[in-house]
Symmetry: C2
Subunit: 428 residues, 2 copies
């Protein structure tokens, strides 16, 4: 059996650099745990001379990431990011060259995971991506190994630390979304440049897709499921939630309904006394329903170079222990194609917030329209803003089909008394 492994790291951003340092200081420990010797033989990043927190060996530095293939490499760690471009090409080329690949890149895996997995299987190498979901929480390994023979029916949770931090902070301070986002960016919890992919639910959805594929032994979905972010939530939503003993959380959810896959990401109102309501800050949490296991919960820090690096290291040790595994737990040929559940049939109780002009008859226009779409009202709260001659009208509905609620909400577009698109938050 092979004793020495050569490693290349491409991408020396926060995660790549932290991992690079961990590999150096834990070399001995890795040897003790696996009996294998590790050597970093190539690194690549945009700039060789950028000021870095940890030292790098410039003798093994390559500006062009593809130049790493000049070296004899056993394991490639891809920390570039993005679903396409260099990261995809380099991972593909590595797998084809029988080089194991480790990546925290959820965009890449959720888009190209099926194809990459086939290439890895064909070339009998590992493609490991534990860090792509849940940061340091070993959730993928748990599904693939710890709960291997369970029949999983549902997985949901808080999958984006940035959003959870913003929601927790807005709840606590009642500051505006914009102000809290700024704070999150200063603290390094949100991308300074373009935080959109976190905020609009895209990041969580990529994780949901990966979780589905593993939990249900299916191919990765590529439809456009229900995806809503947190950008439109205002501090008044937290005030009302508090009155109702509820909290607002962005949840990613995947489940099998009538043998069909139903994936979604959207803000939810959850009861204050539930577990998920009390997962605050940048924490991530995943809840699984399985048989015979029952309900399982995993919680941990969802982001940051430390936790991500912990997950990458677990991938590395898995490779060094020398067992080639199917990247998605079972052979690609056995993974079925996904049938998608029609979101229009999704039934839920809703929180709707209307911002309206304070004029007579507006309330009746709203309730009439709701009735037209068979939406019955469980509770109604009107909060006047006399200074601005405005009011907020909050409606908690009984169960309503997504088909009707969507139609109903868009039907208000033409109503001049309704100042902006109603906010919809689903009760969980």
């Amino acid at each position: 059996m092979k004793k020495n492994y050569n490693v290349a790291i491409v991408g020396l951003g926060q995660v790549g650099l932290y991992l690079h340092n961990e590999l150096r200081i834990k070399k001995k420990e890795i040897e003790i745990k696996t009996g294998k010797k590790l050597q970093i033989v190539a690194i690549s990043a945009k700039s060789i001379n950028k000021k870095r927190k940890y030292k790098i060996n410039k003798k093994i530095f390559y500006k062009n990431p593809f130049d790493i293939f000049k070296k004899n490499i056993d394991i490639l760690i891809e920390c570039i990011g993005l679903s396409d471009g260099v990261s995809k090409s380099i991972v593909e080329r590595a797998l084809k060259n029988k080089i194991h690949v480790i990546t925290p890149n959820k965009a890449l895996i959720s888009k190209h995971g099926d194809k990459l997995s086939e290439i890895a299987e064909k070339n009998k190498v590992n493609l490991e991506y534990e860090a792509s979901v849940g940061g340091g929480i070993p959730i993928l390994r748990t599904i693939k190994e710890g709960l291997a023979t369970n029949r999983i029916s549902k997985v949901y949770g808080i999958l984006n630390g940035t959003c959870n931090y913003i929601l927790s902070e807005m709840e606590k301070t009642r500051e505006s979304f914009k102000d809290v986002l700024k704070k999150a960016q200063l603290l390094g919890y949100a991308e300074p440049g373009n935080p959109k992919l976190d905020l609009n639910g895209y990041d969580a959805l990529a994780k949901v897709r990966i979780l589905s594929a593993l939990s249900f032994n299916k191919k990765i979905s590529n439809n456009n499921p229900l995806m809503e972010g947190i950008e439109n939530i205002e501090s008044k939503d937290f005030e009302i939630a508090e009155q109702l003993d509820l909290k607002i959380k962005l949840l990613g959810i995947t489940e099998i309904i009538d043998n069909k896959l139903f994936e979604r990401v959207h803000p939810c109102l959850v009861k204050n006394n539930t577990y998920i309501a009390n997962v605050g800050g940048v924490m991530n949490a995943v809840i699984l329903d399985g048989k015979p296991i029952g309900e399982s919960v995993l919680q941990g820090e969802g982001a940051g170079p430390g936790p991500t690096s912990s997950a990458l290291m677990s991938d590395l040790l898995s490779i060094l222990r020398g067992n080639i595994k199917f990247p998605f737990g079972i052979s690609s040929s056995k993974r079925k194609k996904v049938q998608i559940y029609d979101v229009n049939n999704y039934v839920n109780s809703l929180y709707l917030r209307f911002e309206v002009k304070d004029k007579p008859g507006v309330l009746s226009q709203i309730t009439k329209q709701l009735a037209r779409y068979k939406i019955s009202v469980q509770r109604l709260i009107q909060i006047p803003d006399n200074a601005k001659k405005k009011a907020s009208i909050i409606v908690i509905t009984h169960n309503v089909k997504e088909y009707y609620s969507k139609k109903c909400v868009s039907s208000f577009k033409s109503n001049k008394n309704i100042i902006k698109k109603p906010i919809v938050i689903r009760l969980f």
Copy 2:
């Protein structure tokens, strides 16, 4: 590589029988996931004709468990239980015969795990025991693999479902310990015959020892650490805890202090708004502090044939995937001997409940004695029971060394005004 695996199961109690059935119905799935074929070739239990929930094949039944070795076996699943006797002998013999072993037996592993692990390593077979801690929660695999290169400093949690059920139920109903225990026995949550090993903390301690060995890469400890059960807790303790916004939980805790191992199991008062306070019923939860991972939480059903079987199956798949692993994550020769932290130095705030005769001067006797042992009072509550001419005196202390609190508590023995040994619950 080997393609066919022969399995023997000894012990067909609740767990063994459930697993036996799972193996039969999931044969195909296991083959898909691992590429290996499984056959149950021998089973053993006390009685062949006992009425069982699932059918067994009597042609492969052996009354004498050691007769299974007449068959050609690759994997032995030991579900007999107890730390010594048949379970120990049969596991030892199997390992020596180069047969992989899977067991949920925490008593066996926490007592003989070091020796068994050496035998397994010498014979290049696996010894897997995921089900011994945390029921279905894949906590051991998570420590060994998912968090492999983290520096873990502390692990604690709710490790005994029976005790957690009893405490949760007493809290909710305010029924007596005895009544709730009966209910737990009827529901199958507590042993009908001898529930002592659950109630006195022994079971949780066995799990703590296993967690320590894995988390800190040390040999299993065999000293007598602080171990207190829940048998003396009364419903009035819950009343007072509620007033103080606290909950009572039996926690197992292990941590490294000054390079020494400090293991303990005892009831704790935990703040109502903490995560651990809200883990109710038969649930188990484990919290780990590690670097760089930060705090991680795993929660799930802690007992019962379903969850246990899920863990046993994950062990089985790990073996079938064909990689021989060190039972404790690293080679036995690299695992250091444990140095033990002196419990007398343990500093804590305490809840003390005295049951006293309602006579003048008793309170002053107590406070005087506390002062003598340098125990300063943070809060004092006296609850009279006029009908019985008794009173309960509850003292919440400031931080006090275990050395003094132990001495102080036993000093009350000779005081005739104090009706029984004071109850001590540590604040967490």
